[in-house]
Symmetry: C2
Subunit: 254 residues, 2 copies
């Protein structure tokens, strides 16, 4: 049984539309993903699915596979779908999901300390997934991973990578250090990355803010401070590129 919604001012549409903003996501405990691929990945992920939204012209051709009977499906008019979509040319399928990410399980982790550019955060999640890391810790001042721009940049990795949101990243890293983790802080005044001692099987790679680098309390939790070599006249690398080079190098033996 599919509910039909035609008015962009329908209360449900207004609620889903509010998920574009952080305030709305926090108020509803939900976020919204768009597009065939993202929606299919969402349906087979561990995230609770609260609603499936399909624009009228996509009802016949979009095949999400078998769905739980209790899942609310809504058919939206063009106008109603355009209201909830964050893209210029919406694909016409979307899913509303509960914000209940997968917890990281394992011992090869990434921590983001105030990485603020949404594109960087999304690209880093995608790269961590491809490199095979076990999970990511995000400090509270990172770009919100449930924002539409970040979700798009993850290319679906949001559904596959374990995520954790410690209230205080430095405290969390100190606790992991007590458990025997090496804490590898990426910073421009560190020692050469390629000369690092072997971090073993339990480590957290820390990537800092685009302008200011890793914060002092997090630096204090580090067991190694490392920098990639810079030749030429370049003073730094893009945060997502630096994270990618280091993650792939650290995972190489695995």
């Amino acid at each position: 049984m599919m509910e039909h919604i035609t008015s962009p001012k329908n209360p449900k549409i207004l609620a889903w539309r509010s998920l574009k903003e952080r305030k709305g996501r926090l108020a509803h405990g939900s976020f919204l993903v768009e597009g065939d691929r993202m929606v299919k990945e969402a349906l087979s992920s561990g995230f609770p699915v609260r609603a499936l939204l399909i624009r009228g012209d996509r009802v016949r051709d979009f095949d999400p596979g078998p769905l739980p009977e209790s899942l609310p499906c809504c058919q939206l008019s063009d106008q109603a779908f355009a209201a909830v979509s964050d893209t210029k040319t919406p694909q016409g399928v979307a899913a509303v999901l509960g914000m209940q990410p997968i917890s990281p399980r394992g011992s090869r982790l990434l921590a983001l300390d105030c990485v603020q550019d949404p594109g960087n955060v999304g690209t880093i999640l995608r790269t961590a997934d491809a490199a095979g890391l076990d999970g990511i810790l995000l400090s509270p001042d990172c770009a919100d991973i449930f924002a539409p721009k970040v979700l798009r940049a993850t290319m679906g990795s949001i559904f596959r990578v374990g995520l954790s949101f410690p209230e205080n990243l430095a405290d969390q890293l100190n606790a992991l250090r007590e458990e025997g983790f090496e804490i590898l802080s990426s910073q421009l005044d560190g020692t050469p990355f390629y000369d690092r001692p072997d971090p073993g099987e339990k480590w957290v790679l820390v990537i800092g803010n685009e302008g200011n680098g890793v914060s002092l309390p997090v630096q204090a939790a580090a067991t190694q401070r490392l920098r990639l070599p810079m030749r030429g006249g370049a003073e730094s690398l893009n945060a997502a590129v630096a994270a990618g080079i280091m993650m792939y190098e650290l995972m190489k033996g695995n």
Copy 2:
């Protein structure tokens, strides 16, 4: 002797303003860079400097160092500067430069085959500079490196990395192969990157289009086709991240 320009409709302002678009840059053979750091790097680069533009409030505090006497310096009103600037909050200094890039010299090269996202092209230039590559070849369908968004993303590397614009990239790569270069094509159906044979001292790493990868004529010129390992469920990496991982790995022994 500094020329004062107050009207945003002054013919010089209109000409410089047109440099935001490719058409204008080609018509004038010039491009424009903004900001203290970019302008200082431009002045000490090999690019011909055609004019230095300073907003009234910056005349006293901006110190570009010793300048050639023949260099035209212009003091611009707030309105006139805003007209030529591509940013929301301009720093108030800019330089107009001739499009006469440094040619690549050396034997460790990068080739971009239809990389179309301006942010990716700029970030890749910045990373190539930091990794210490000798130069970059760009196919004609790449994002224009003299566009304001690309220039910003390079963080000044545009002035330090050798650049070449072959009319036909595949022909150029075939010629390099004849000279003994290994042509390393990055593609998702390649063999594992970390198992590659040693490419020696003369090589070109090729990065393809974000959606379609390396074009068929360029693939045909390759001596090795390589892919980075993908774990998790990720199908691909961002082009700038993949380029960064491969460039740093290839340059590691150097």
